[in-house]
């Protein structure tokens, strides 16, 4: 039941925040924060349960919940958590808490509805990471879209209508193709075995001809590639990230993109091993193009937020390469990259939010010399810029290094090209540092430095990214069995 509560608590918290909107703004914020903290406690509680460590050897799942939902169609509420889900759920709750805190001062307009949407998006994302019934997975996949759409549409910046529409239609289109594929899988399995089910563990064993497998796989791939985003399915990303409120950008970059990568690892790799082997090279080439294209476009941006959005495209290219290199080193690296990118890019978006709160613009041309008026803000800014360029000591370095090592075993050319992205990352990261934090102030400005709340939030993120960089072993250990079990299906 812990897993169900994990989703119910944010849903209920969101409703409570919405209902008490009129009473007290502080109450709303604390309700939202409280429900996420409660969720984290619950996760910690589940984590330390003895069954977590000693659980049956054959059962890969740490905790599981399986109750019928629509029995006529073989749909169950099947939630389960393994190491991969666990780290992603932890990431979701961590960034969820950050996004509530970073909206503390930014959002004043209809805060009840805002937190409702925020928490419901998080609930949808949590659901995606622990759903093991493909219908349920699709349900959560669609569910997180609508509140995210409203977050951008109502609380976003100038061009929010266009951005939110684009976001919704891109992701919904991908999702619908995935639905067709899920149903194809369902009927292929049903006709072969007589058991009509959406259950993940049963669908893992489906036998298909190579051609069918390829078409069914492409529906999944399309949905996940839009989310990831892989070139050429990325056009929604810069707009959505730029126009969303800070909390929205944090969730988009930190979590929503990860659902695409998660889907590739959890569903595409084990269910369609042959088709994956077939498209591995094209997919990795898309990843390389993404790395270089994102980095080059980031260099050309005048809007700081848009710049960071393009670096996301670049960083997620590594995830795509790591997944399709499809060996345990590369996959571990991809998972690390998901987490490290979630935290570092999330932090960068928070920093842009902090800057925008203070000087009311995101234009790099109007920034500069922040170091002297706001040394603390600048310190964290530089810290995360360095993390983003992959400096050793930060989680991103570990992740990108592992991806490159793993990929080298598959293709040296792709490794070399992907590594060139690291050089470009150095250029745009140091460019941010130079233009924003160093140099002479463009115009005289009174920049208030970070408050205690902001320092607390930023240091938590800094601690997390440093921990991942200096001692990544716990994360790698917990993910390892999952990656091994997925590797069993691989044909490479």
């Amino acid at each position: 039941m812990i897993l169900a509560w994990l989703i119910i608590i944010p849903l209920a918290g969101g409703l409570a925040a919405w209902l008490f909107e009129k009473k007290n703004a502080l109450f709303v914020r604390w309700t939202a924060l409280g429900s996420l903290l409660l969720d984290s406690l619950l996760l910690a509680f589940g984590w330390i349960q003895p069954a977590f460590f000693t659980g049956p050897v054959n059962d890969p799942w740490m905790i599981e919940l399986n109750v019928p939902w629509i029995p006529q169609l073989g749909i169950n509420i099947h939630l389960a958590m393994d190491g991969l889900s666990l780290v992603l759920v932890a990431l979701t709750l961590f960034l969820g808490i950050i996004s509530v805190i970073c909206s503390w001062r930014e959002i004043h307009d209809r805060i009840g509805a805002f937190h409702l949407n925020l928490l419901w998006t998080l609930a949808g994302i949590l659901g995606i990471f622990i759903a093991l019934d493909l219908f349920l997975f699709y349900f959560f996949w669609e569910l997180m879209l609508v509140p995210m759409y409203f977050l951008i549409n109502i609380w976003g910046h100038e061009n929010r209508m266009y951005a939110s529409l684009k976001f919704f239609i891109f992701t919904q289109a991908g999702g619908l193709f995935m639905l067709v594929s899920i149903l194809a899988l369902y009927f292929i399995n049903g006709k072969a075995t007589g058991i009509y089910t959406f259950d993940y563990s049963l669908l893992l064993e489906v036998d298909m001809g190579p051609k069918t497998a390829f078409f069914v796989m492409s529906g999944f791939f399309l949905a996940f590639a839009v989310k990831l985003p892989a070139i050429p399915f990325h056009p929604w990303l810069p707009d959505a990230h730029t126009e969303a409120p800070t909390a929205g950008s944090v969730i988009l970059a930190g979590l929503l993109l990860k659902t695409g990568a998660y889907g590739l690892i959890r569903f595409v790799l084990p269910i369609f091993p042959d088709a994956v082997a077939m498209i591995a090279y094209p997919a990795m080439i898309l990843g390389v193009i993404g790395i270089i294209y994102g980095a080059i476009l980031a260099l050309g941006q005048k809007d700081l937020k848009r710049l960071i959005a393009y670096t996301s495209v670049s960083h997620m290219g590594f995830v795509l390469i790591g997944i399709f290199a499809n060996n345990s080193t590369a996959l571990s690296g991809a998972v690390m990259q998901m987490i490290a990118h979630g935290i570092s890019t999330g932090a960068l978006f928070v920093i842009v939010g902090l800057i925008q709160e203070r000087i009311h613009t995101r234009s790099i041309d109007r920034m500069g010399g922040f170091w002297s008026p706001a040394p603390r803000l600048s310190t964290v800014g530089i810290l995360f810029a360095l993390a983003s360029l992959g400096l050793p000591g930060f989680g991103n370095f570990v992740a990108e290094f592992m991806v490159l090592v793993g990929t080298f075993r598959v293709s040296s050319v792709i490794t070399v090209l992907a590594a060139s992205g690291l050089v470009l990352a150095v250029v745009y990261s140091l460019w941010i540092v130079q233009r924003v934090f160093h140099g002479e102030p463009i115009e005289p400005l009174s920049l208030t430095d970070l408050s205690a709340r902001e320092i607390g939030m930023m240091s938590a993120m800094a601690a997390a990214i440093l921990w991942l960089g200096l001692y990544p072993l716990p994360v790698l250990t917990i993910v390892e069995p999952v990656i091994d079990s997925i590797q069993q299906y691989s044909v490479l």
């Binding site: 029995p71 219908f135 669609e142 549409n153 529409l165 919704f168 639905l179």
Partner: protein, 477 residues
């Protein structure tokens, strides 16, 4: 006619009886609230009688009507929708200075026609049902007599519905000439056995499909739809979009499941073309509209296109999918038109997108409901529309209609544009000087609340409804 037969006809007799009672009362004195209350009560009683007589079904009552679980399910749906339309009409008519009471009489008779339609087994009851439905709707569509648009809508509907009735009649005559029977079961058996041979039979079937195409407003028989939906009073548009279409489709479904459709390539081609055209034309033309009622009209055209896929798919999954889809569609359309009707003013209906600008700030409850209804039309989770669309896609994939399903997916994406356009208007900054909005009505809000609850209930926990549908469709397979 035995006693059992009479008991089985109870729902029809209650609705018919209510209209007679209202007519008699109107002869003596007029009271709007009393009449509306009586009509609503009549619908409620008729709906309540259905579970009571269900154990006696299935049974043929005369050669014209069959009361089986399938018919009873649709009757229940139709009566409850009729009740919702009546309750939504009350506040709407309160604003207008007309003779309000006869309206309910017409609603009752039209609903009775729809109920006869879903239970008919014979050309005679089929035609009787369709005429009761249409003739009442001519009058209802032009009920607000001082409005030119309304009169125009009524006349348009009159001419086109009459033409389509003529088509159906001629088709019936041709089929009768060829087969020598007006009983559906026999006709279906004959067609299944020997196929559609000979010009007469083919022409007859074609004409009936054309006639029903008019009633369902599928392309290319859809031209009247946007104009009539736009001009007719909002609750009447709701009636045409839900009850009228639902009943005709239920009849179609009943007899298509008896025909061995896969042996009839010509009919499959015909329906495939109609389905594809309806999806594309409905969705693409909806993109160009600025009038909410017209958007809903085009949206309903495209929804019927989706539904036609289930006719081609055929089989138990497809029939279940179609029935679930119709249920979800009726709830959603009633809700959407309900919001339009509650926001309407005496001068004109709230049909421009600008009327909805900033509604979320002024009337969050109505804006919320409208949002949920639009999401249901678009097939987003937590709503019954999602499960319905999921089921239709499942039925299509099951029958291997991948191309049609891909077209459905593409159309769903196009559909998002115009649903989101309304939603964007709801949540953008309100216009000045438009703060006064009418629409404080208990009955209207109660209906909307009920529809919302049902919509989300079926969207989150559809198991029980699916179980009921699966049981009822046994009787027609």
């Amino acid at each position: 006619m035995t006693k059992t037969d009479i008991i089985l006809l109870l729902p029809l007799m209650i609705v018919g009886g209510t209209s007679v009672v209202i007519m008699l009362i109107l002869a003596f004195f007029r009271n709007h609230a009393l009449t509306a209350g009586l009509a609503i009560m009549g619908f409620a009683l008729a709906a309540a009688s259905i579970p009571m007589i269900a154990p006696l079904s299935p049974r043929n009552v005369t050669t014209l009507i069959v009361i089986d679980p399938y018919a009873l399910f649709y009757m229940g749906l139709i009566f409850i929708s009729g009740m919702a339309v009546a309750a939504l009409s009350f506040p709407y008519l309160e604003m207008h200075e007309e003779h309000r009471e006869e309206y309910y009489l017409l609603i009752l008779v039209a609903t009775l026609g729809a109920a006869v339609l879903v239970a008919s087994t014979h050309f005679v009851s089929f035609f009787l049902g369709i005429e009761m439905l249409s003739v009442s709707l001519y009058a209802l569509a032009s009920y607000i007599r001082h409005s030119d648009k309304c009169i125009e809508a009524g006349v348009k509907y009159l001419i086109l519905a009459a033409v389509s009735s003529a088509f159906i009649l001629f088709g019936m005559a041709l089929i009768y000439a060829e087969i020598g029977s007006m009983d559906f079961a026999r006709i279906a058996a004959r067609i299944s056995a020997t196929g559609v041979h000979g010009l007469t039979l083919f022409a007859g079937l074609g004409m009936i499909i054309v006639g029903m195409g008019f009633k369902l407003a599928v392309v290319p028989f859809h031209l009247w739809t946007p104009d009539v939906y736009e001009g007719a009073p909002a609750p009447v548009s709701a009636f045409i979009a839900t009850i009228s279409k639902g009943a005709v489709f239920a009849l179609l479904l009943r007899y298509f499941s008896k025909l061995n459709i896969h042996a009839q390539p010509r009919i499959i081609v015909m329906i495939t073309i109609i389905a594809i055209a309806s999806m594309f034309v409905g969705n693409l033309l909806a993109l160009l509209q600025t009038n909410v009622k017209r958007i809903l009209a085009y949206s309903s055209i495209s929804h019927l296109g989706y539904l036609l896929i289930t006719l081609i798919a055929s089989g138990p999954t497809a029939v279940t999918a179609a029935t679930f889809y119709i249920t979800a569609y009726m709830i959603t359309m009633l809700g959407a038109f309900g919001v339009v009707s509650i926001l309407s003013r005496p001068e004109r209906d709230a049909d421009q997108i600008e009327d909805y600008q900033g509604l979320a700030y002024q009337r969050p409850w109505l804006a919320g409901i409208f949002t949920v209804m639009l999401f249901s039309l678009a097939g987003i989770p937590l709503t019954a529309g999602f499960i319905g669309k999921f089921y239709v896609v499942a039925a299509g994939v099951n029958s291997g209609l991948i191309a049609l399903i891909i077209i459905l997916v593409i159309n769903s994406i196009i559909g998002l544009f115009y649903y989101l356009r309304i939603i964007i208007a709801l949540y953008s900054a309100p216009r000045e000087a438009e703060a006064i909005r009418v629409g404080k009505t208990i009955s209207g809000h109660a209906v909307l609340a009920g529809l919302l609850i049902v919509l989300i209930w079926f969207g989150v926990y559809p198991g029980p409804l699916i179980a009921v549908i699966q049981k009822t469709i046994q009787s027609i397979l």
